[in-house]
Symmetry: C2
Subunit: 454 residues, 2 copies
């Protein structure tokens, strides 16, 4: 076969060891907090049946699913189509599986499938890659990890409060300063009621969501363009102009939305949640942002979005409450609430702000230089004693030039190099070189353990 | 949309929390040992270009690749084929990516692609799922994890020795008693030379590999069936009958294969490797098994296979040396050696022998019962103090009947339940119930920390 120049599909990534240790640091931090709050791990397969995935993410989402070609003679049950126009029809005949698009729909499927094996309220976390056939661009990948925590089977707002605590603790541990933005889908519905456009909530929220980016004038223009009547837009203006604390805003909204039952419910929930936030003494700022909508249509209550304060980047965590996610799989009326951390953006933020602790990047503690068979055999014994004490170390496998071995130690960030030759071996000792200071000294094997244990 | 009965594709699996914690225990144990010996983590994408994967696993392997349908109008460059006979031709026109089949080929691709970024000898580990469109059956899945460690860029047999140590330490940590079987591809080539069938090494090894299972007579029949001449089979008989220690076997082989250069080389390597094994004081038995061949054609030196001693199951770890894996990607003559742990079989062995430590299965330490708003607010404060001390705990989110909350604690294996009502709150205390002993006692929040820290 001809020699291939190796490469990977567009939008996918390899991770070198230097990246892996940093990513692992992020995942481990998130995992530890999830566990501390009682969330249990699950995993689902990369491939789901297409029927599980289709229709859950809108038409756009359906197009972004990676479909897997059926195995064997995949055309045997296919009808001839007029190529190439009817490719979608053919796709469904020759593909029955797709790669998971997010962790939420597989989780809903999981909850229904194992409803008799799990205890409700079920608090689960899941950290796995997802795949989307999006056009690759800077910061957008076709394969990326999601880190989700959800509680399903409880309507209590204590769950929302707990997820906010988790957000606060995760970003506190990672030393990322964040602003947590809250809103409530019911308030948005109340606003739509109030301006007499109850059916236009999607148009209204899509436009409102852009207020930060494009400004009030342009939002008004967009609303008009979407066919919202002028009188409704006029009613909406004060909402766009509300300033102040969450308390100020809810007091104001209470009057404004007095006529909307769902609006009043949303305000009540928001008050309770902010009450918890106050009593919980969180480090992160939490703000009520009435323009926050988030794209996903399945949210029915609280909406959560987290932004880094010191880096201009999209949201690094988000979530909300959904009242009927499992309905489509035959289990109606089960309320849930969840959040999802975006590991890739968190990685970018930490890299930019230089927040990874130095200890994350370290390698093995010690490299034994290989001077030849006899010396290697001696070193291997000393090294194994160190390993028994859980000290990580290596013996260079080949008796090549000393410089090459020292270069290896440097490239690998190994702090100590041990040398043992005719001076050391008869005395049962090794010369230890500190690669940072350049200092070197003779030690017995026992002393070596003590020094490296530090 | 109609209600769907949820299920997952055949041959794939969901993992419930009780399974996840056990699997994580295995992965963490393996990872810790890899790191101790200086192996660095990498990850590669689930999807590789089909050209990277095709032709690397034989015709059988090519058929078992999961192919991903190109996005969008995937038929636009496809030629009309006579359906359904020419499905393979069409497959290559409508699919450019496949799911990774193992970790070795992606690793070879990775090494060549990043040759200027990595330091050789490169010791890497990789723990990720792989996908094979195999017919699902008991213990064989379409998605499963591999845990690989490889050293590339060094011909030293110290690498083989180190990998044996890793095997010994991993299974020692997991408390699985194993037998490590070794062989050398060069010895097998030498045997083929000796019986005057140098070109028939594959037929010979495939038949020899079955000696354990089907016995000598049947192996002889199979060899004859594969067209090996009777005189060659007669010469092979003493090889099938060799018994004794590795030393006995190499002494015997030295005479037998004296005429084969490659055979002599294989014996020499085996002697050196067994020399290391002796000096390393490993706990596992290591045996020279001349019938060991392993299916993969890319091995060129040592071959390694590990069996559990107390459970009848296939190999739970395997590997070997390959001299030119990266050649196909344009980087010839780079020798490597690696091993792969089979996490699924290890899981089965540990489950059967009841080897998972009790601590693996535990959950959060404490559940606070929810009696209503005021009590919940009080408990939340106490709970948060515990969490600050890194004690995991939960507050039941809803003020439902006590029995339901206690059932939850039981189902979740939570050892302590805390109750705080009108008796406890005014005194700043909580009643702690030990769910194992049934004992309950009044404690201050400070004492709670002490008890739960134990």
């Amino acid at each position: 076969m001809a020699v291939q120049k190796p490469s990977i599909p567009k939008g996918t990534r390899d991770f070198l060891p230097s990246e892996m240790v940093k990513r692992t640091y992020i995942f481990d931090t998130i995992k530890k907090v999830f566990q501390k709050y009682g969330y249990l791990p699950i995993e689902t397969p990369a491939m789901e049946k297409l029927e599980t995935l289709l229709g859950k993410y809108g038409d756009e989402g359906d197009k972004l699913l990676f479909k897997i070609l059926n195995s064997g003679n995949f055309l045997k049950d296919a009808q001839i189509v007029e190529l190439p126009e009817e490719s979608n029809k053919l796709a469904m005949q020759i593909s029955g599986k797709g790669l998971r698009y997010d962790l939420t729909v597989p989780f809903a499927r999981f909850v229904v499938q194992y409803r008799n094996d799990i205890t409700f309220p079920f608090k689960r976390y899941q950290i796995q890659p997802v795949w989307r056939a999006d056009r690759p661009q800077k910061g957008r990948y076709q394969e990326f990890y999601q880190c989700d925590a959800d509680v399903i089977g409880s309507k209590s707002l204590l769950n929302e409060a707990e997820l906010l605590q988790i957000i606060d603790e995760v970003f506190g541990s990672l030393k990322i300063k964040v602003l947590i933005k809250l809103n409530n889908r019911k308030i948005l519905a109340g606003i739509a009621d109030y301006i007499n456009c109850p059916d236009r909530i999607t148009d209204i929220t899509v436009a409102l969501d852009k207020l930060d980016k494009i400004g009030k004038e342009n939002v008004i223009a967009e609303l008009a363009g979407r066919g919202i009547p002028d009188r409704s837009i006029a009613l909406l203006q004060p909402v766009m102009e509300i300033e102040g604390s969450a308390k100020d805003k809810t007091v104001f909204l209470k009057k404004l939305l007095a006529g909307s039952e769902i609006g009043a419910e949303g305000i009540k929930e928001t008050e309770v949640l902010f009450g918890y936030v106050e009593s919980l003494n969180m480090s992160s700022a939490v703000e009520l942002d009435l323009t926050l909508a988030r794209g996903l249509n399945y949210y029915t209550g609280a909406i959560i979005e987290v932004k880094a304060r010191d880096v201009e980047i999209g949201s690094i965590c988000g979530g909300g409450r959904y009242d009927d996610l499992t309905g489509i799989f035959g289990m109606p009326d089960v309320s849930g609430v969840g959040i999802s951390f975006g590991a890739d953006r968190i990685y970018d933020v930490m890299n930019q702000l230089n927040l990874f602790p130095g200890t994350v990047i370290t390698s093995t503690k010690i490299l034994f230089v290989n001077f030849g068979k006899t010396e290697a055999a001696y070193c291997l014994k000393v090294l194994n004693d160190l390993r028994k004490q859980d000290i990580s170390g290596e013996l260079y496998p080949d008796a090549v030039k000393l410089k090459k071995q020292m270069d290896y130690a440097n490239a690998r960030n190994i702090k100590f190099v041990a040398l043992a030759g005719e001076n050391e071996i008869p005395k049962g000792k090794v010369t230890l070189k500190n690669m940072d200071s350049g200092e070197q000294q003779l030690y017995s094997a026992d002393d070596l353990v003590k020094i490296l244990k530090q």
